[in-house]
């Protein structure tokens, strides 16, 4: 922009000549601003989460590769534990990365960690139903175990449905947010175009 084209307030802002060193220091701090420094306890917590999700990932991975039967239940199990293992390993990497760095990106990482933990919970519940509850109810429906199994299966399905609802609502919320953003972008472009046309007409 030419100096002559500048508005008064832009010229006024240009009058402020900040010290370069101080400004650089500020810019560094602003970059760091998005990251929270973790305490030793916080780092230990993330390290524990990494270890736990690694263990869960290994267990789920083991379950996914162990069975080789063509039984429908085992296929379903693999369908669940496979992605579960992937989520667990991803969470391991993220938690370990946060623990090693000792800094938490305030805007994105907490969301990813919460999302990962919820997803892992979903896979664990589903795996629990397939590995323990269903065999207990279907394969050995004797005495109290079958009643207990049915109860567990009901609880498990209730949890699954809850997880399903949460996931659906989350997806709807995200898509609504994205649609809103797209609409605003379009509205902004239209306003920009209208402004240009007005300027042209005035000329």
């Amino acid at each position: 922009m030419n100096k002559a084209d500048k508005t008064f307030h832009e010229k006024l802002l240009d009058m402020e000549k900040p010290d370069d060193k101080l400004k650089q220091q500020y810019e560094k701090e602003v970059q760091k601003m998005l990251q929270k420094k973790l305490t030793y306890l916080g780092r230990a917590g993330f390290a524990a989460l990494a270890a736990l999700s690694l263990y869960v990932g290994l267990e789920l991975g083991h379950l996914a590769t162990k069975s080789s039967s063509s039984d429908l239940m085992i296929l379903l199990l693999r369908f669940v534990v496979g992605p579960g293992a992937i989520v667990a390993f991803a969470l391991t990497l993220l938690a370990a990365w946060i623990a090693v760095r000792g800094r938490l990106n305030l805007k994105l990482q907490p969301q990813c960690v919460y999302g990962g933990v919820i997803a892992l919970g979903f896979f664990l519940v589903t795996t629990g139903i397939f590995v323990y509850v269903v065999p207990l109810t279907v394969d050995r429906p004797v005495g109290w175990t079958s009643i207990f199994g049915i109860q567990l299966a009901l609880i498990g399905f209730f949890l699954l449905v809850t997880f399903g609802f949460i996931a659906v609502f989350h997806i709807l919320y995200r898509s609504d947010f994205k649609t809103g953003e797209k609409l605003l972008e379009i509205e902004y472009r239209i306003a920009e175009l209208a402004e240009k046309m007005e300027t042209k007409a005035a000329e």
Binding site: T7, F8, H9, K11, L12, L13, D14, M15, E16, P18, D19, L22, K23, Q25, Y26, E29, V30, M33, L34, L106, K107, L108, Q111, F177, G180, E181, L184, E185, E187, Y188, I190, A191, E192, A194, E195
Partner: protein
């Protein structure tokens, strides 16, 4: 059709709430120069001004999800910057200075015409010679981001007081600039 600036603020806010780092950086880029200019008029020490600006961004980051009306973004940013600067300057001292200043003013004259301050360099110099309340209100006025009502909201005073304070501030600035011109001649 809605104002382009309002749409832009709404879009920026939405992206910031989604946690887009680019949006936050854009927000900082778009406002840091103005906020720094404003803070710099409130505090004499440049290093303190940078620190206040940094603290302002931390507060903005924490509170951005709660800001419901995107149109209020400029006033909200200036309010945070002001509050941070005032707590830095010790609120009590600043408030006392403001109150004492208000008492010293005489009745307002009818002429509220804007004097023509068209030399940015002179105005920048003149602002530095004024009292804190005059300097603050004129800075907000010259930066042109806020309406009278918004300035009132930022400064926590009625809109009528904004008008009268602006009037006296402009008069004071004109006096400073005239004196300076006389000295120069």
């Amino acid at each position: 059709m809605r104002d382009k600036q309002t749409i832009y603020y709404e879009l920026l806010l939405m992206r910031c709430r989604r946690g887009q780092k680019e949006a936050l950086e854009e927000l900082v880029r778009a406002w840091e120069k103005r906020l720094f200019y404003y803070i710099r008029r409130l505090v004499a020490d440049e290093q303190a001004a940078w620190q206040i600006l940094q603290e302002t961004w931390v507060k903005v980051l924490r509170g951005i999800a709660k800001l419901q009306q995107p149109g209020k973004l400029p006033a909200w940013l200036y309010s945070i910057a002001r509050n941070t600067a005032l707590s830095h300057l010790r609120t009590e001292y600043a408030n006392r200075a403001m109150l004492e200043h208000e008492k010293l003013q005489g009745p307002i004259e009818n002429d509220l015409e804007h004097p023509s301050f068209d030399d940015a360099e002179q105005v920048h110099y003149g602002l530095g010679q004024l009292s804190l309340p005059h300097r603050e209100i004129l800075t907000l006025f010259f930066l042109q981001d806020l309406s009278t009502e918004e300035i009132a909201a930022v400064l926590n005073i009625p809109a009528g007081t904004v008008k009268s304070r602006l009037h006296y501030a402009k008069r004071a600035l004109r006096t400073v600039l005239e004196k300076e011109a006389e000295n120069y001649e």
